[in-house]
Subunit: 131 residues, 6 copies
């Protein structure tokens, strides 16, 4: 039983490092529509995956960036959130761009270009915020 509590708790520990307000924001946006949504997502994605040993968080995030890129432009909102998380995990913008552009080989040029566009938008938003 303890271990299942720790799946959710371990997920929350990862979220605390990457994006502390995430669970609250998800709950506010989706829990009325899908009861249990935010907790379920944190438990599964962060507790059952990102919290696992054997691969560091920064590399996990770069893998996610690449995967969202080949999944296509439909995942642009998730790609932007995850680029933020990847920066929080210690990656540079240059590393992120490489993880996107390389996907032209596997997912084709349109997917890679849509990924670059999402990154550019996010970088512009970050620069506007800090300017």
């Amino acid at each position: 039983m303890a271990e299942h509590k720790s799946a959710l708790d371990a997920g929350r520990d990862v979220v605390a490092r990457l994006n502390p307000p995430l669970e609250g924001a998800l709950a506010e946006k989706y829990d009325a529509l899908v009861p249990g949504f935010a907790e379920s997502l944190v438990e599964w994605a962060y507790g059952r995956h990102y919290a696992r040993p054997n691969l560091d968080l920064k590399t996990r995030q770069l893998c996610t960036i690449s995967a969202l890129t080949v999944l296509g432009g439909q995942t642009a909102p998730q790609l932007k959130v995850n680029i933020k998380h990847t920066l929080a995990a210690g990656a540079t913008r240059e590393e992120i761009i490489e993880a996107i552009w390389q996907m032209a080989v596997y997912g084709g040029l349109p997917a890679a270009i849509n990924g670059l566009n999402a990154a550019q938008e996010l970088f512009d938003e970050l620069d506007a915020t800090t300017a």
Copy 2:
């Protein structure tokens, strides 16, 4: 002009690290069907992408593993080749498995399970060879 020669040459340098017989094997299998195939692939994938600075080769390979996983079971042959390359780039089997399994979050369980199956097959082949 030199720089374009170096796109192919830089690609060949990466291939020399990851899988020296690759270009020859691709040429033998595909160049009669598609004249220029092997050279074109090495130039584009390895010279124009893997040879780029700003992201280390091992992380690039783990990103590729994740992307091929979410692209689905149709890429199993390419996934197995790239798992070999990822081992050659210095990743452990555990790191590779993590880069695959995490994809259940983004590409769904069937894609992740098909990816694990491809990895298991490749590991079994490697173990059979070295046994």
Copy 3:
């Protein structure tokens, strides 16, 4: 011969239940670009599929909702139209949300979240209309 007339006619009967103005709206929007578009769509989608026996219309519509969800955010406009049709076929909003959210297992979280967003938008539009 009679049975082919009935493919189109059977399709029109289904459309009459789900969304009477559909064929006219499609004809107005697409028939100049693609002569025969609306009739062809009604015949194929509704006459050759939804009008078939052995599965009730409400379940057919919920299956469509799930499929459009895993096909990704690119199908948001079609998803919204089909959520309307699914309500017209007798499903509740709660059933529709479940048919979407369950797809996180098969198509990944981004596809499921994009599907929830489309449903929320449609529900908001319906509520605004009836308010």
Copy 4:
């Protein structure tokens, strides 16, 4: 804490109805490769999704059949497992075939035909077993 225990337990209750040996079979096949795999899958897929209220299990399974069909032939193994589960949930073979064939409208003919092929294979296997 209790509620997270129940996500796994609720998942196990669903699995008990659909396919009792599933968790053990998954553990045997995958837990050495991915520690915690079987438990994690049962908790997420069955506890966090199929066990939810508001949509009956048979309809949930038919939705899954449709989704796996449009995801393409790469999901044939998962489609066959889920067709078994759908029969266990009370659907007829005819209902399952309809949930597959209708997908020609949304995922295209190749995906629908590959889905029909998977169903035919599974039906043949079941008939051979019971013959």
Copy 5:
């Protein structure tokens, strides 16, 4: 009424040019599982699409080859059938290979390579038959 009869008949005329035994073979393989399958497919795919004016049959077939290639290895059986149809429509093997390989740009290298593999298999089968 006549026009709907002619959708099916127009489809049969195209099939007569590309692959005369197709409808019978489809009926034998699928009509027991999906009543009306073969007729429905001929009417929709060949009557409502390939029989349309404004684009010649050979170009239509080459477009189909490219589309099946980017849809991924899951469509290999359909790709092989359509390569045969494309040869029947007057294309050369070289043209077909170009329509596949170019897809590396849009669908990525794995999809293009899987497409080349399907073409090579089909060419080998044809050569074995005529040898």
Copy 6:
């Protein structure tokens, strides 16, 4: 060495026929983010693919239109650019529409409808410009 210079140069020759300002526009938009982007894209897509012999440029472009259509609405920006290129390669609007609509058979109705929407938007933009 000369032949690799000519991959880029051959690509530039094709671009000169289809869309002369393309390389400059891509460089301005992406080269700061991805050093070498524009040159790399011209070399790979146009030099290593469109410049190849054995398939005429107009047919290549129509194949691309079909492929981008089945890849889904996420590729709408690329589809619109390529529709322009296809017109420049000598195709009529009617031919382009046929290459899109036929894809309903292979990629499903939502993908085909999204493709028609992209074409209609581009045609409207062109008509507004010339009006």
